[in-house]
């Protein structure tokens, strides 16, 4: 478990040796993190998921830039407008790059429902880095350059990649903004659970005995009561007049108060296994302090397991936030999270007329699946010596 070994570099291309033995030697001298990386790379789904998550998180970090519109800008002309169809060839068959036609709102003569008709005489090309509504990135940098957009302002012509909601707001922009809260709440929540899990799981596994017994009973207790009713009760108690940021942290604390148990079990398991290892005994014999043994010797050797478990714990947090916000007990509008966006889908009329209001759910499913695959890959890679 030599983390110090990471300074050495495997002499990979020595004299162009690409034979079996060179490969074997490469493995022999490779530092542990490199073995993990090799093993991880073999897990195709985990690699793909990793890329997907990087894209998602980049979009969440730079959401002001990625979203073509301000999430609150609305236009009643586009109530429940369907996703804009992107064309490449105009009516004469000429290649024009990606563009959309102008849309006109008409009424269906039979049902009298509003329908949106394309006007093929007006062409709005889609451009990268096009100027749009002004915004402040992270509330600091002012700009009006957006990742992509069309040449007309929303009042003239809306461009809805994923359709518009009941108030005529661009759903894609709102999903991108929602990613900032929904994806970060998973990380913050898991971070809080990590602290609780490592402290309590560590104490439980390291000292054992009565303390271990008590902590194990507490974990069993927490896991044996239904979480969502309890979460509902606790989050309903958050005062309704709290600002969004407070509610956000309130919800994260509530989620992690229950979410730490899985992590604590993993930490305890590793501690129990490592406590008996020779290198821990050796460290104790040369007189290292308890704290040093734990932090310098034990933690590095199960860090990879912790990271894998953490990754697998994130989806639960995202799901919980989505569920609570969805039923109206979590974050509330004007905050934008995927769960808040899904509230729209509670209205059956909206869903029937405009199934795209379910799309924030697709964002939830994709990110949860990605975290699951990534976590699976990491867990396999965490023990590179296993076959």
């Amino acid at each position: 478990m030599a983390t110090e070994g990471s300074i050495e570099r495997p002499r990979a291309d020595d004299a162009g040796l690409s034979t079996e033995s060179a490969r074997a030697e490469q493995i022999y001298v490779a530092p542990q993190w490199k073995l993990m990386w090799w093993k991880f790379r073999k897990h195709r789904m985990a690699m793909v998921s990793g890329v997907v998550l990087i894209v998602f998180y980049l979009a969440a970090i730079f959401c002001e830039f990625v979203a073509p519109y301000d999430p609150e800008s609305f236009s009643t002309r586009y109530t429940l407008a369907p996703p804009s169809r992107i064309h490449f060839f105009d009516t004469e068959g000429n290649f024009r790059g990606p563009f959309i036609y102008g849309t006109k709102r008409e009424r269906d003569p039979v049902t009298l429902r509003p329908i949106f008709v394309e006007d093929t005489s007006v062409i709005h090309p889609i451009r990268l880095f096009s100027p749009g509504q002004p915004y402040k990135l992270w509330g600091i940098f002012e700009s009006n350059i957006r990742l992509f957009g069309i040449d007309a302002p929303i009042e003239e012509q809306g461009f809805f990649l994923l359709g518009a909601d009941r108030l005529g707001r661009d759903l894609f922009s709102r999903i991108v903004y929602g990613a900032r809260i929904s994806l970060s709440i998973g990380l913050v929540g898991v971070f809080l659970s990590l602290i609780l899990g490592i402290v309590l799981g560590g104490i439980s596994g390291y000292y054992g005995g009565v303390i271990d017994n008590i902590i194990q009973r507490v974990i069993e207790f927490i896991r044996s009561i239904p979480a969502i009713p309890l979460w509902m009760g606790l989050s309903a108690a958050l005062p309704a007049d709290w600002p969004v940021v407070w509610v956000y942290f309130g919800i994260t604390v509530i989620l992690s108060l229950i979410g730490w148990t899985g992590l604590a079990r993993v930490v305890r398991g590793r501690f129990l296994a490592l406590r008996e290892e020779d290198f821990v005994l050796a460290a104790r014999l040369v007189g290292s302090s308890e704290m040093r043994i734990i932090l310098r010797h034990m933690v590095p050797s199960f860090l990879s397991y912790i990271i894998a478990t953490l990754t697998l714990a994130v989806p639960g947090m995202i799901l919980a936030e989505t569920g609570l916000s969805f039923i109206g007990l979590g974050l509330r509008a004007p905050a934008i999270s995927w769960g808040v966006l899904l509230q729209e889908a509670q209205n059956l009329r909206s869903v029937a007329l405009a199934p795209w209001v379910l799309l924030p759910g697709a964002a939830v499913v994709i990110s949860i699946l990605s975290f699951n695959f990534l976590g699976d890959g990491l867990r396999d890679a965490a023990d590179p010596y296993a076959r």
Binding site: R217, S224, P229, G233, L348
Partner: protein
């Protein structure tokens, strides 16, 4: 065996005590006491409340007294008289509102467990014995999808599919004529014809995780020498698989069946809200949003208590089946 049961029951007592503390805390959490909101509500409706009645209520719930006295009055009322307090929104004792709904919630959860076992055990065994075959990949894919999709999303999509493609509204647990009708054979049949939807929706999630665990456990077992020995002895393959390794591989999640129950009751809450079922979820949600705290607290208390008791029963059954568990420690 008796000793094991006694030990488990004794261990359950502190758990139940903590559950009651948490439920009581939830009742107490909203600002102001419920009585003042009750009085305000009565005034808003134009009813006068006389001082004697007010004093009687105050005495009954121990208001203006320290918290522990209030807790004691509350819990002793439940234990001795089955009095769960009053729902101010409905103007009825909580116990009149709650039992039907909790019963249906538990029924849905139990049916879900049975359905997901019926699907997942054969599927998991097949996936493990035919590793890397096409059905194995297919099942892995489906179970990953099942794990990634929150149940309430599945319920939403089911609602949409029903409405958009079949033109039927599948929400609601009863047909219209039965909603307010008293229980009868017709009502039960009507419910059973609709209850499969939440059961299937919830089972997807649960089945997915069982298939994955079972497959992983069984793959570990299949390489062990005892399997080889049995095979060398000439035991037929099907008998061999089902008689030895499957039983070992099933153990870990039989022992966590209580957590499954908790997770199902949890999931059922949200699914029912989406499907507007007359179970505990929607009523709990409504009680929480209107701060009808005795109703909300009672739901949390009873759902948790029943889950813990369910866990106890499953543990006892397990110990009865598997001697290793009752002889542990």
């Amino acid at each position: 065996m008796l000793q094991y049961i006694v030990r488990r029951v004794v261990l359950m007592i502190p758990t139940l005590f903590v559950i009651s503390l948490i439920s009581f805390a939830i009742i107490q959490l909203p600002p102001g006491d419920f009585l003042s909101s009750y009085v305000a509500q009565l005034r808003a409706e134009g009813d006068a409340i006389d001082a004697a009645q007010l004093a009687a209520l105050e005495e009954q719930y121990g208001l203006n007294q320290p918290v522990y006295v209030q807790y004691w009055k509350w819990i002793s009322g439940i234990l001795l008289r089955g009095d769960l307090g009053r729902s101010f929104e409905w103007g009825k004792p909580v116990s009149e509102l709650i039992w039907d709904r909790i019963g249906i919630t538990m029924l849905i959860s139990l049916l879900t467990i049975l359905l997901s076992w019926a699907i997942a055990i054969p599927a998991g065994v097949y996936a493990a014995t035919h590793q890397y075959s096409i059905p194995d990949y297919l099942m892995s894919f489906i179970s990953f999808l099942g794990l990634g999709t929150p149940s309430f999303m599945v319920a939403l999509v089911a609602l949409w599919v029903g409405l958009a493609f079949f033109g039927v509204n599948i929400s609601g647990l009863f047909s219209e004529q039965y909603i307010d009708a008293p229980w009868s054979v017709g009502k039960v049949l009507d419910m059973l014809s609709r209850i499969w939807l939440p059961v299937v929706v919830l089972a997807i999630d649960n089945t997915a995780s069982i298939i994955r665990t079972l497959r992983a456990n069984l793959l570990d077992e299949l390489n062990k020498p005892y399997v080889e020995t049995a095979r060398a002895k000439g035991v037929r393959e099907t008998v061999l698989i089902w008689k030895y390794p499957v039983r070992v591989a099933l153990n870990p999640f039989f022992s966590t069946v209580g957590w499954t129950l908790a997770a199902l009751v949890s999931g059922e809450t949200l699914v029912s809200v989406v499907l507007s079922y007359q179970t505990s979820g929607p009523l709990l949600l409504r009680a929480l949003t209107s701060q009808d705290m005795y109703l909300a607290g009672s739901f949390i208390l009873l759902l948790s208590t029943l889950t813990v008791i369910g866990t106890l029963i499953s543990d006892i059954l397990l110990a009865w089946v598997d001697p290793r568990i009752r002889l542990e420690e």
